[in-house]
């Protein structure tokens, strides 16, 4: 009656061993459980030493990303049932250094997010009386790209980032584009200089996996593609209309 399902969790505890090893846990198989529920069950009932990140358990905070059967997913949004009858392989996010068990090191990602200057850049220093007004259609221009929850699944899925860790990467570029497309922003030129550096958009070979795994349908691949087009137009403009280069 009480069906069980096996989770094979890739563990890493640097104080015990420098190697990662799989450890199997049998947990109750419940239809309404997501992977995160199973991990919490392990932590509470079977093995308190297991480490992983989570917070909201509703696909909002972006902290519970991990590899489940080789795919980067939010563990709070993936049902056990999908992987029935198991066993289910749980590993830390690919392409990132591991701190401990399923906890990955994200400072590289943080540094990249900051590099695209994700805030409104204005030429005039003084803020307006009241707020900057924006029409609904101006909001729609960038809304999609603003839905990112920084879960890093796209970086895990991106083979270019895997090969070339200096690549700025999907989420950071989509975030830059989010501000570029904001009618209140005037920093496109400054930002595009960063985005089209050697480590930026030109590294992308349009594999498209980032958009496939994104839990928020941000579509970073499209953001990168649009930037390639607009940067290329600017490039040719700068030859045809050099007086505009300032």
């Amino acid at each position: 009656m009480n069906e069980q399902i096996t989770l094979e969790v890739l563990r890493y505890r640097p104080e015990e061993s420098s190697k990662q090893i799989y450890q199997s846990y049998d947990v109750p198989f419940k239809k309404e459980w997501v992977i995160l529920d199973a991990l919490n069950y392990i932590k509470d009932e079977l093995d308190g030493t297991l480490s992983y990140r989570w917070s909201c358990r509703m696909g909002v905070c972006g902290s519970c990303g991990m590899m489940v059967n080789g795919e980067p997913v939010l563990s709070c949004a993936s049902f056990l049932e999908t992987f029935h009858p198991g066993p289910i392989r749980i590993e830390p996010l690919e392409n990132f250094p591991v701190v401990r068990d399923l906890v990955s090191e994200m400072s590289d990602f943080m540094e990249k997010l900051e590099r695209v200057q994700p805030w409104l850049i204005r030429k005039d220093e003084d803020p307006p009386e009241g707020e900057y007004l924006q029409t609904p259609s101006q909001l729609m221009d960038y809304k999609n790209y603003s839905m990112c929850i920084n879960c890093m699944l796209c970086y895990s899925a991106c083979p270019v980032y895997g090969l070339e860790p200096s690549f700025l990467g999907p989420a950071a570029i989509a975030l830059g584009q989010r501000y570029n497309l904001d009618s209140r922003d005037q920093g496109e030129k400054i930002r595009n200089a960063v985005l089209s550096e050697d480590d930026g958009i030109w590294q992308c070979t349009l594999v498209g996996e980032c958009s496939a795994v994104c839990p928020k349908d941000v579509d970073p691949a499209a953001a990168i593609q649009r930037l390639k087009v607009s940067t290329t137009v600017d490039f040719f403009k700068s030859f045809l209309m050099p007086w505009q280069n300032r």
Binding site: L163, E164, D198, W202, T232, D234, F236
Partner: protein
């Protein structure tokens, strides 16, 4: 601001990809399969020659062949970079790939010019 050449190659790559996707399969099907197999009656050398002598057709063929080559070059360059992990040879690879495309473009131009000025 440092200016990168990358948008230039990418423009050739993407326009080449669009043109190739639209026209190459049809052209290959008609010229390379349907006519040789006799599914379509051959227009004969004279007619084809007259066709290729038309300036518009020559410009079209030149763009199609040249841009398709640049599309290939860009793709192949990244295939070597990422697929075969040869990024440390990037200079050499870029020169070889784009160099082949440029050579092919010059040859195409030369042949098309010879055709016209008989």
């Amino acid at each position: 601001m440092r200016r990168h050449i990358e948008p230039f190659w990418w423009a050739l790559f993407s326009s080449g990809g669009t043109l190739a996707a639209f026209f190459l399969p049809v052209l290959i099907f008609i010229m390379g399969i349907a006519i040789p197999l006799g599914w379509i009656e051959s227009p004969g050398y004279e007619k084809l020659f007259a066709l290729v002598s038309n300036l518009h057709i020559r410009v079209f063929l030149f763009s199609l062949i040249s841009l398709s080559l640049f599309h290939w070059a860009h793709r192949f360059r990244f295939t070597l970079y990422d697929g075969l992990q040869l990024k440390h040879l990037n200079r050499l690879i870029a020169v070889l790939c784009y160099g082949s495309a440029i050579t092919g473009t010059l040859m195409t131009g030369y042949i098309l010019i010879i055709f016209s000025s008989h």
